[in-house]
C-alpha cells in the first residue's frame, strides 16, 4: 500500500470517528508523522482531487478519495484477517500495521482467497478498535 493510500485510509477512519473533517493534527498522530509532513501530503491529495482541505476545519475526502480509501481499508482488513485466521497471529493489529506498506493490492487480493470476509467489508471495520468488528478476537492465537 503506498503512502497516499495510507493517508486516505487514515483520514477516512478519523472522519468516521469524528463524523466530520479530520484535523491535520489527528492525521499526523494517526500516521506518526509531523504535522508538516501531513500537511504536505494532504496538499498532494487535494491536487489529485482526492481530498478537500479547509484551513481551520480540516480535511474531507472527495468521492474519489472515499473510493480509494475504502479500497485501501479493504486491503488492510485482508491483511489483518489473514494474520489472525491463517497465521494465527495474536497481535495481528500491530503486525498488520507494520506490514501494510509492503503488501500491495495484488498480493492482498490473492491472500483474500484464503480468508472468509463478510460482504459488508470494509463497513464492518471498527475504527476505534482498529479491527474488523466481526473478527472473533477470542479465537485468534488460541492454538
Amino acid at each position: 500500500m503506498n503512502t497516499a493510500d495510507q493517508y486516505l485510509k487514515a483520514i477516512y477512519l478519523i472522519q468516521q470517528v469524528e463524523d466530520g473533517p479530520a484535523s491535520t493534527g489527528d492525521v499526523a498522530d494517526a500516521l506518526e508523522v509531523s504535522p508538516a509532513s501531513a500537511n504536505e501530503m494532504i496538499g498532494k491529495l487535494e491536487t489529485r482531487g482526492l481530498a478537500d482541505h479547509e484551513k481551520y476545519t480540516g480535511v474531507d475526502l472527495t468521492e474519489d478519495g472515499i473510493v480509494r480509501a475504502r479500497e485501501a481499508l479493504t486491503n488492510y482488513c485482508i491483511i489483518e484477517r489473514f494474520l489472525a485466521n491463517v497465521l494465527d497471529v495474536e497481535e495481528f493489529r500491530v503486525e498488520a500495521r507494520s506490514l501494510e506498506a509492503v503488501i500491495d493490492d495484488t498480493v492482498a487480493e490473492r491472500l483474500d482467497r484464503l480468508i472468509d470476509r463478510a460482504e459488508e467489508c470494509p463497513d464492518c471495520f471498527d475504527a476505534e478498535t482498529d479491527a474488523c468488528a466481526l473478527l472473533d478476537l477470542e479465537e485468534v492465537g488460541a492454538d
Binding site: 500516521l31 498532494k44 491463517v86 509492503v102 484464503l114
Partner: protein
C-alpha cells in the same frame, strides 16, 4: 499505523517470508488442483507447465523455510493452505481458467518478492511510480528510508537473504513469461 516501508526487524521479516511461503503453497495447490481436475483433458504443454508449477514452489518453500528457521519462527504447513485453496475452488468457479489462474499466481509471487526486496533496500528492479513501497514511492520522504533498511541487522545473513529472494523473484518472472508465451501460442 506506520508509514515506514522498511523491513527492519526479524519478526517483520519472518512474517513476510511466511507470506511468501503461503503464496508458494497457493501456486502449488492451484497447479495440483487443475491437474487433478482435468488430468485426461489437459493439453501436453499445459500439463508440463502445471507440473513445473507444482514442483518449483516446493523448492522455493524449502529455501524460505530455511531462512524462517534461522529467524526462530515457524513455516506454514502446506496442508492448511491446500485445504483453504481447495475450499475456494469449491465455492467459486471464477478460477477455472487454468492458464489465467496460473498467470495470476506467478505474477503475484513475483510482485511480492520484488516489493520485499525494495523494502529491504534493494532497488534493482522496481516499478517506479506504481505504488511499490520503498525508495521509489512517488510520495517519498516519509518512510522511504533506504539507508536505514540497508543497515538493518537480521539474524539471517543479509547477502544470502537478498540472493535467495532475488533468485526466487527471477524464477517467478520466468514463470510469468512461460505462461504468457503459452497463452499467446494458444490464442
Amino acid at each position: 499505523m506506520s508509514l515506514s516501508h522498511a523491513v527492519t526487524s526479524d519478526r517483520q521479516l519472518a512474517r513476510l517470508l511466511q507470506i511468501g511461503v503461503v503464496l508458494e503453497e497457493m501456486v502449488e495447490a492451484s497447479a495440483a488442483h487443475h491437474t487433478a481436475e482435468r488430468e485426461q483433458d489437459l493439453d501436453p504443454e499445459v500439463a508440463a507447465l502445471l507440473q513445473e508449477a507444482a514442483a518449483e514452489p516446493e523448492r522455493h518453500r524449502e529455501r524460505l523455510a530455511a531462512l524462517i528457521d534461522e529467524l526462530d519462527a515457524d513455516s506454514v504447513a502446506y496442508e492448511e493452505v491446500e485445504a483453504l485453496v481447495e475450499a475456494q475452488y469449491a465455492a467459486d468457479d471464477a478460477f477455472d481458467d487454468v492458464l489465467y489462474d496460473q498467470l495470476c499466481n506467478e505474477e503475484t509471487a513475483y510482485k511480492f518478492y520484488d516489493d520485499l526486496l525494495t523494502a529491504l533496500g534493494v532497488d534493482d528492479q522496481t516499478d517506479g511510480d506504481s505504488g511499490v513501497p520503498g525508495a521509489t514511492d512517488s510520495d517519498g520522504g516519509v518512510g522511504a528510508a533506504t539507508d536505514d533498511v540497508a543497515d538493518a541487522a537480521f539474524s539471517v545473513d543479509r547477502d544470502r537473504l537478498v540472493e535467495t529472494l532475488r533468485e526466487i523473484r527471477d524464477e517467478e518472472a520466468a514463470g510469468v513469461e512461460d505462461v504468457t508465451d503459452l497463452m499467446e501460442r494458444r490464442a
